[in-house]
């Protein structure tokens, strides 16, 4: 539990951001750097516990986003901003480049239109490739490939350190994080919002709803109505061991359909290889279940594209939920008269677009705050091998998670500070402990000992387990 040091609870905060997913974290950063006093309200024991928990970790260019959409504009701006700030926050960027590949005549026929759309979207460096060129670029690719095009600007990033970095920068510049703080009701009187949460009352001038999978519900709780309905879309993923990562350079994308970008095969920033996601509509927004036939089908799909995958072990499987709505477009609505902004329906592109969404919403808010002097830029720990890892520097206290080479010093760091892990899932996202091939066989006991009494949601008796 965070004990918020509420700066003058009487007058409250300038901005309350509801939801600490990647969008909420980016919003908290943007408003804090703009000089606002921000509180972030998260209902889970740790941040990134909803839709942001499971994504495919790609920084998209927006080449296939709908022309003229807010989504496209936010992806483009988010993409540029990520490039701008990533060095100062120590965030990784693996310049993989993508190839959109066609596997049938029908898909080949769609390629020119997709390339034209990319150019129209401002992604002008796409290049058509023949089947032979694709095979030369990616020798492990199945010879059944029929052609495609390269999108050199699509890159791999760390799915979590970006959001953690945005939030940490907000916190280190004065923002407040309240976890296990589910918003129950909202009431506005004399220009001030009074939010009742499970962690106490919060007052704020402006409320921004970034509640992801619960966006419509939070709309109703705060304003009494919602203008959209979340229709969760589940994506299952299979992750292969690090031995498989050398099979591939590019991010391999299929020809997209109307509803989904389709199943991607790519390396991860951590040096694994990932196949997914599926796109399964469901009503349940809490439970993202795995099922064996689907996982097997994903593995088969992976092997159809990269036959050599058959000889590699699966390290992990996970399922995420995307907060899709009735419409493809983001559901961003401002009610400035009511000091309320809803940032809803941020589906699968939230990771790429988050910084752009935050900049967009900051402009929409039309507010000015006393400027923040000399903002702090925290450095995020390197988990991807792009920069030296902690195990390569002396004094790390020994390796704790052997598969992912996570040190004792890294785990200790993740358990302390303004954004200390609140759950086992949160500790995993911050450090990668137990995320490797043994899934906790070797290090669970040591982790249970180190984390005892230090997580709001304990490892034993609550929280994401080792497996």
């Amino acid at each position: 539990m965070d004990t918020p040091n509420l700066p003058g609870n009487a007058e409250g905060f300038d901005v309350a951001v509801i939801g600490a997913g990647v969008v909420g974290c980016a919003l908290a950063r943007a408003f804090t750097l703009a000089g606002a006093r921000v509180v972030v309200l998260e209902k889970a024991a740790d941040v990134l516990d909803g839709a942001s928990k499971g994504n495919s970790a790609i920084l998209h260019t927006g080449f296939d986003a709908p022309e003229g959409s807010v989504e496209l504009a936010c992806i483009r701006e988010g993409y540029a901003l990520y490039h701008q700030i990533r060095d100062r926050l120590g965030l990784p960027l693996i310049r993989a480049g993508a190839m959109v590949l066609a596997w049938s005549e029908a898909e080949v026929a769609e390629l020119p239109a997709l390339m034209a759309q990319a150019v129209a979207n401002g992604v002008t460096d796409v290049q058509a490739v023949t089947a032979a060129e694709a095979l030369r670029l990616e020798p492990q690719l199945s010879a059944k490939v029929m052609g495609g095009f390269r999108v050199p600007g699509e890159h791999l990033i760390d799915p979590w350190s970006a959001a953690h970095g945005y939030l940490l920068q907000a916190l280190e510049n004065g923002a407040t994080l309240m976890r296990q703080a589910e918003v129950l009701t909202g009431r506005r009187s004399q220009g001030v919002w009074h939010l009742a949460t499970t962690a106490g009352a919060v007052q704020a001038g402006l409320v921004i709803n970034a509640a992801g999978l619960w966006g419509d519900e939070v709309d109703r709780r705060v304003t009494g109505e919602s203008w959209f309905t979340i229709k969760p879309r589940k994506g299952q993923f299979v992750v292969y061991d690090k031995t498989a990562a050398s099979l591939l350079g590019h991010i391999l994308l299929p020809v997209p359909t109307k509803t989904t970008k389709g199943i991607v095969v790519c390396r991860t920033a951590y040096g694994n290889l990932l196949v997914g996601p599926t796109a399964e509509e469901q009503d349940d927004r809490e439970h993202a279940t795995l099922d064996q036939p689907t996982l097997q089908a994903l593995m088969q799909r992976g092997q159809d594209i990269l036959p050599a995958l058959a000889g590699h072990e699966v390290t992990a499987a996970y399922a995420g939920l995307r907060p899709a709505t009735e419409e493809k477009e983001y559901r961003i609505r401002t009610d400035l008269a009511e000091d309320y902004i809803c940032v809803g329906g941020i589906r699968s592109t939230g990771l790429s677009a988050a910084l752009g969404i935050a900049a967009h919403v900051l402009r929409l808010a039309e507010r000015s705050y006393p400027p923040l002097e000399n903002p702090v830029w925290p450095q995020m720990p390197s988990l991807t091998g792009e920069a030296p890892r902690d195990w390569q520097t002396p004094g790390h206290g020994g390796i704790l998670c052997h598969c992912e080479l996570v040190t004792r010093r890294e785990v200790e760091a993740a358990l302390t500070g303004p954004m200390a892990a609140g759950s086992m899932g949160g500790l995993k996202r911050r450090t990668r402990v137990t995320m490797g091939r043994c899934q906790g066989f070797y290090c669970s006991a040591e982790l249970a000992r180190i984390t005892e009494g230090r997580l709001a949601q304990p490892m034993l008796g609550g929280g994401d387990g080792a497996d």
Partner: protein
């Protein structure tokens, strides 16, 4: 760059016995282990039977592990814990990291004895949610025996290999009452007396059953069991995912050394020598799981082979390859056979005296070793996966491939 005669990677039964034997032969040996305490998996197997073959007494795992470490130290072995190997270079040069930082070590010979781990829930593609309370036997034993913690009260145990009964003993020790043991096959995998332990503890063993899904968002609340096509939910607060041992071989797989896709471990010859002759391997890294005693004996034998190699007395790798001609056979060791059967001599004393086999699935029939169209050996088998099968070494006719076939009945 630090230099020693032999580096052993892994301070479990195989690595420690090899190091002890080498030190007693006058060889300078350093054992590296990534854990804070040497001894390997027996450290957290707080039950007998250990030590009968090695020390002629019945011991529990932790006492056995301590004894192995004490013997190695007494023989003059240097043991470095909290030292993780990060890369294997050709010729016996290795990168390591320890609390002091990174360094490169070199030796005339490197023995890989990195052991095994159980197959995770993820690698088994078990469906459902991912709550806390799902763990391997190894994790459970560490939590119970090393920490004195109790992660759940009424778990289910998946699998019936010997280790599943080890999990049962761990549960009994911790006052945990498993709800059921669940096995997809029609028989339990461990030798049948093991089932009496389950009966004694009143734990039902469900055969021909699989767990399809795990329920619960933060903690396990139940599992869905598929029993001969009938689905049922069972209330439980934990899942022990036992067995399915696989070599801890990622170092190997990321290196220049040849890997056997069947075993997941290294390709070895009769002396435990790898495709780069500076490297040797022993213990469970070779195959999945064997008893500690077996690994201990294997380590001791390969130590003699390493000693012979250091003296330049090991035969050149003049060889025939052993190939698998049946999908029922998961692995056969060694994968590289000498054309001439080694004669008993000091140099050859580190040679394996037979072949080790494992099945993928229950199978019975005639197992044959074929070379140049001629049957070298013919043996009836009726076995289950993960049971030990041994065959005498065949006398080869040439350097051409030897194929292991199984004519199933």
């Amino acid at each position: 760059m630090a230099q020693t005669d032999v580096i052993v990677i892994g301070a479990g039964p195989a690595g420690l016995s090899a190091a002890t034997a080498l030190a007693r032969l006058g060889v300078a040996v350093t054992v590296l282990d990534r854990e804070a305490v040497a001894g390997g998996i027996p450290r957290h197997c707080n039950h007998p039977p250990y030590g009968l073959r090695e020390f002629r007494r019945l011991m529990r795992g932790p006492a056995y592990a301590q004894r192995l470490v004490a013997e190695a130290k007494a023989a003059g072995v240097t043991i470095r814990t909290q030292t993780t190997v990060t890369f294997l270079h050709p010729g016996g040069r290795i990168d390591v990291t320890s609390p002091e930082g990174v360094e490169t070590l070199a030796a005339r010979a490197v023995l890989l004895a990195t052991g095994v781990r159980e197959t995770s829930r993820a690698a088994r593609l078990i469906g459902g949610e991912k709550p806390g309370g799902v763990m391997s036997t190894g994790a459970l034993q560490g939590i119970v025996h090393l920490n004195g913690q109790r992660p759940f009260q009424r778990p289910v145990i998946l699998g019936t290999e010997l280790v599943a009964f080890s999990a049962l003993l761990t549960c009994r020790h911790a006052g945990i009452k498993p709800v059921a043991m669940i096995e997809p096959a029609r028989r339990i995998t461990a030798r049948s007396p093991a089932i009496w332990l389950a009966r004694l503890m009143g734990v039902p063993v469900l055969l021909e059953a699989t767990v399809d899904a795990i329920h619960g968002r933060t903690r396990v609340e139940g599992v869905q069991i598929d029993r001969r096509g009938t689905l049922q939910d069972m209330a439980t607060d934990g899942v022990i995912v036992s067995g399915g041992f696989r070599p801890e071989a990622t170092l190997l797989r990321l290196s220049h050394l040849e890997v056997d896709p069947g075993s997941g471990g290294p390709v070895i010859d009769l002396w435990g020598r790898l495709s780069d002759p500076a490297y040797f391997a022993a213990g469970n890294l070779l195959r999945g799981v064997e008893t500690a005693g077996w690994c201990w004996a294997e380590g001791r034998r390969v130590a003699r082979a390493i000693h012979a190699a250091l003296l330049g007395q090991l035969p050149a790798p003049e060889v025939a390859r052993l190939r698998l001609g049946s999908d029922a056979v998961r692995l056969a060791l060694p994968q590289v056979l000498p054309i001439d059967r080694p004669k008993p001599s000091p140099a050859d004393s580190g040679a394996a005296d037979g072949l080790q086999l494992r099945l993928n699935r229950p199978a019975k029939g005639r197992l044959r070793l074929m070379q140049d169209g001629v049957c070298l050996m013919d043996r009836r088998i009726d076995s289950l996966p993960e049971r030990r099968i041994t065959l005498p070494l065949p006398a080869l006719r040439s350097a051409s491939d030897v194929t292991l076939t199984l004519e199933e009945r």
